[in-house]
């Protein structure tokens, strides 16, 4: 093999392989002298040089979309949620409440906990409405009403929905929605309106069951959120008797109505949620 400067300056003719290189489409010849690397390279060229390439069945994506981690994990964290609540469906007495909920997330979606509502916190609690006043004044009717002191409930919560909203397409807002239920109790008593001169009532305990509810949280940080919740507390209530015992109006056995009345106390709560601990670690699969 001889070289000349003319050959070195001239590229190989089009379609012709360079000297020492296999022709296009032709497998490389195994390197002489038992060269392992050369043999491997030749094998790779064999497998990588099909006679025809198949056209892709669909256009390849130009970008890779990164999957974002869940913004705020809940598993193993304690949630404290102070809130203010108001009754939605009592036309005669308004029951605003100061509430506090405490939940522990056993899993990412399931929590157990409890909540307490305080109604009898001063002049602003258990307010009779204008409707109650006007019905009595205009039609000379008395409406048996009750007042609430305090309520508590043991709860199970489930978070079926989690998502993100874009705020004006610039910021990402994380949210989740949950359902809950449980059992609890209300401490209530009738307000004497039929015979207030002779009657007075003690607080009594009413067991509330099921207590279904639904809530919605928007996260402001990885440990804090604001939430709203709508919940129906179901219990059997005792009302004042509309009949007055003419013989002995001071007999306490005649003050309460016969039987109990099923009450659905629908409460709307809004407040803050704080998760403890404030931070969490992501454990990625290995």
């Amino acid at each position: 093999m001889t070289f000349s400067t003319d050959e070195a300056q001239q590229p190989p003719a089009e379609g012709q392989p360079a000297e020492g290189e296999p022709a296009e489409g032709q497998p490389a010849e195994p390197a002489p002298g038992g060269d392992v690397l050369g043999e491997l390279a030749a094998q790779q060229q064999q497998t990588a040089a099909p006679e025809e390439r198949r056209a892709p069945r669909r256009a390849l994506r130009e970008e890779v979309v990164a999957v974002q981690q869940i913004y705020a994990l809940r598993k193993g964290r304690v949630e404290i949620a102070p809130s203010f609540g108001i009754s939605m469906n009592d036309p005669f007495v308004s029951h605003p409440a100061l509430a506090l909920a405490l939940n522990y997330y056993v899993t990412e979606v399931l929590a157990i906990g409890a909540n307490i509502l305080w109604f009898d916190y001063g002049p602003a609690g258990n307010l009779t409405t204008d409707t109650n006043f006007q019905v009595g004044r205009s039609f000379r009717l008395v409406i048996p009403i009750t007042e609430y002191q305090i309520a508590a409930s043991l709860n199970f919560s489930y978070v079926p929905l989690y998502g993100k909203f874009a705020l004006f397409r610039e910021f990402i807002v994380h949210w989740d929605a949950y359902v809950l239920g449980g059992v609890g109790a209300f401490r209530t008593r009738p307000v004497p309106v039929v015979d207030p001169d002779n009657r007075s009532f003690d607080w009594g305990l009413r067991i509330s069951v099921v207590n279904p509810g639904i809530g919605f949280r928007v996260y402001s940080s990885r440990f804090a959120s604001i939430f709203i919740e709508l919940r129906d507390y179901i219990f059997l209530e005792k009302f004042e008797s509309l009949e007055i015992n003419g013989d002995d109006p001071r007999d306490p056995d005649t003050w309460l109505a016969d039987g109990s009345t099923l009450v659905n106390n629908v409460m709307f709560n809004a407040g803050l949620t704080i998760f403890f601990p404030f931070t969490f670690d992501y454990r990625l699969p290995k």
Partner: protein
């Protein structure tokens, strides 16, 4: 403070709260550095007309529940801003339990002429001599129609997964506006001086104007069909019970023995609507 006023103030306070608590931190390094929050967003609103058929029902009423049939037409100037019109016509009303209790148990003084001069309840118990008289629901106020214009802001846009199987685009919106309301109330009348004739319970219609506000959520099932759920409130004063409620201000005597505009009381008149959205043109644009 009445329950309706309290509920309305609560609704106002919630609407005043920021609908988003904060912003996601943007990664300053890595492959997402400088990247926008969203790419290739389907713009269900921008530049499109939304026609929505939506029945509406009132809630929180003291005496009468209303069912109204209506529609909303909105033109979305931007993907988060729209102007529109909403109208609704009352097709059905039903008295609630309180109304029935008043009719069945209200003041009736048999053998006396007092009931005839009772401006609030001139019926008695509708039995015996009182059979065939008008009934208490006949004097109740009712909403006949509503029509208004509104400005809608939809700052939140996202997706919701329904039991992890079906995914729909959603947006959350709030609106403010003004509306004209056609109401039917007990007509002006005075306590009769003639003990033999009961007070009139004739009703009269009038138009009043009210601010309008609310919030809701739209879900888009495909490019041109969606569903909306919204809460709406129209606070205005009207005489819902048809009773003499005037006057309790200082220097005034109660009652004044007449039914007139001074007996109207403020109510938040809350409503809830569920509707079907049709978007035109049928193909939305896609953001870059």
């Amino acid at each position: 403070m009445g329950s309706q006023t309290r509920n309305g103030l609560l609704a106002l306070a919630l609407l005043a709260l920021p609908s988003a608590a904060g912003a996601q931190e943007v990664q300053l390094t890595g492959p997402l550095a400088g990247a926008p929050a969203i790419k290739r967003l389907v713009l269900h609103r921008a530049g499109r007309l939304h026609l929505t058929v939506m029945p509406t029902f009132t809630f929180g009423d003291e005496y009468v529940r209303h069912l109204l049939a209506g529609a909303r037409v909105e033109y979305n100037l931007l993907d988060f801003l729209a102007i529109g019109l909403w109208g609704s016509y009352g097709v059905y009303t039903v008295e609630n339990g309180l109304s029935d209790e008043v009719q069945n148990k209200a003041y009736a003084n048999e053998g006396s002429q007092d009931y005839n001069q009772n401006l609030n309840f001139p019926y008695g118990d509708n039995s015996g001599d009182f059979y065939g008289r008008p009934r208490f629901p006949d004097q109740l106020g009712r909403i006949q129609w509503v029509g208004g214009a509104q400005l809608t802001l939809a700052p939140l846009r996202g997706k919701v997964g329904l039991v992890g199987k079906a995914f729909v685009d959603v947006d959350v919106f709030g609106f403010v506006g003004a509306a004209a309301v056609g109401v039917q109330e007990r007509a002006n009348t005075e306590r009769p001086t003639n003990e033999d004739n009961p007070a009139s319970i004739a009703t009269a219609s009038r138009t009043t104007f009210a601010p309008m506000f609310g919030a809701g959520i739209n879900m888009y099932f495909n490019n041109f069909i969606g569903m909306t759920m919204e809460y709406r409130a129209l606070p205005f004063s009207w005489n819902r019970s048809g009773t003499d409620e005037c006057c309790t201000d200082e220097g005034e005597a109660f009652p004044d023995h007449k039914i007139d505009d001074q007996d109207r009381q403020l109510s938040f008149n809350q409503m809830f609507s569920v509707g079907v959205i049709f978007a035109l043109p049928t193909t939305p644009t896609i953001d870059e």
